[in-house]
Symmetry: C2
Amino acid sequence: MARTVTRTRRTRPSADQTRERILAAALDLFSDRGFDGASTREIAQRAEVTQPLLNYHFSSKDDLWRAAVDGLFAALTRAMTDRTAGLRGVDELTAARLLVREFIAFSAEMPQLHRIITQECKVDGPRMDWLVERHVRPMYDGITALFSALTEQGHLPAIPPAHLYYILTGAAPTMFVLGPECRRLSGLDPTSDEVVDAHADAVCMFLFGH
Amino acid sequence: MARTVTRTRRTRPSADQTRERILAAALDLFSDRGFDGASTREIAQRAEVTQPLLNYHFSSKDDLWRAAVDGLFAALTRAMTDRTAGLRGVDELTAARLLVREFIAFSAEMPQLHRIITQECKVDGPRMDWLVERHVRPMYDGITALFSALTEQGHLPAIPPAHLYYILTGAAPTMFVLGPECRRLSGLDPTSDEVVDAHADAVCMFLFGH
DNA sequence: GTCTATAATTAGATAGAC
DNA sequence: GTCTATCTAATTATAGAC
């Protein structure tokens, strides 16, 4: 039997679509302009709704920000676990290389990730607390555990994991985070597949020596 | 004969000091909150003057931003050329290692540099044009020229200069730019000399292999 | 659910006294 | 030079019609 929706839904069908449009617009503008710089009017305009509707679906600008960030990290987690799923039985070094490449591809497609973290680090307020404890720390713990294993196996130089973490999270996304600058300086298009692949090659060469 | 100021000065002595206080406050707040997020009222408050005085010394918020950024890059240029001055006759590899260490030390002391570039990249407007052409391109040209020479000599892996540039400008300052996050995640103090030195060691290890 | 209208706050800039 | 007072515009959030 096909699954039927028996529970009476409390929201109209149009609302889900509207929420998604608002969330997508919010992510773009929060990451481009920061929390304060992004106005709810402009988010509403990009989502093609009126501004008070944001307060209907998300009770405040702050709640909207949190919902948009949750969606961003959900996409990152999905990309990384999808990649990991195909890696049963593969040695840790190969797995690490593929995860680094996946992280770079994600950073190129969604530079919003690094941009929002950078933005909130500067403000260093309650949104930062929430962001670190809810989303960043699990990522940090997983990456440093993998790096420690690789260092023990001699595949990475003996560098404290925290430094390794910030070398990776700096070297991987900066070309895309500073995309407009990169375009002006080098003439390269940091959104093109060739440049993303070349950057993944470069970072792997840098990290693993080949 | 000691140099005497014979030219009649058009400004009162107090004004220079006031301008400097305003510039320092502006740099801090622009880099922490971005151009839009920083209010001239708050800059004035931190500089211990009233808000209309900013419009007296700098004709607009935009001009104040430019003056603050000029000061920041002047400090960077001074740090790097002071370092270079003592390097006559030293081979290019040693010079590059010392310059990388100097850049990391500067990034740790003045994370405002990378923060302001990141902020303006997101907005990608006329301030970005000004910033790239006036300040960033000379830096980029110098660094990529040095890297190309080192790659030809076999001291660096064969990575295109643009990618090397963004690996360096990502790996070097990110730990300090995301300082508040780093503190929470690792317990390290990214402003301490030990951590800055350890990070310079780590980056040089990856870049030069030792 | 989605709208129009608006309240309450805050922003950057200017006028003018001293 | 530096201040107080104020203008105009833009912000987030709320009230209430449909």
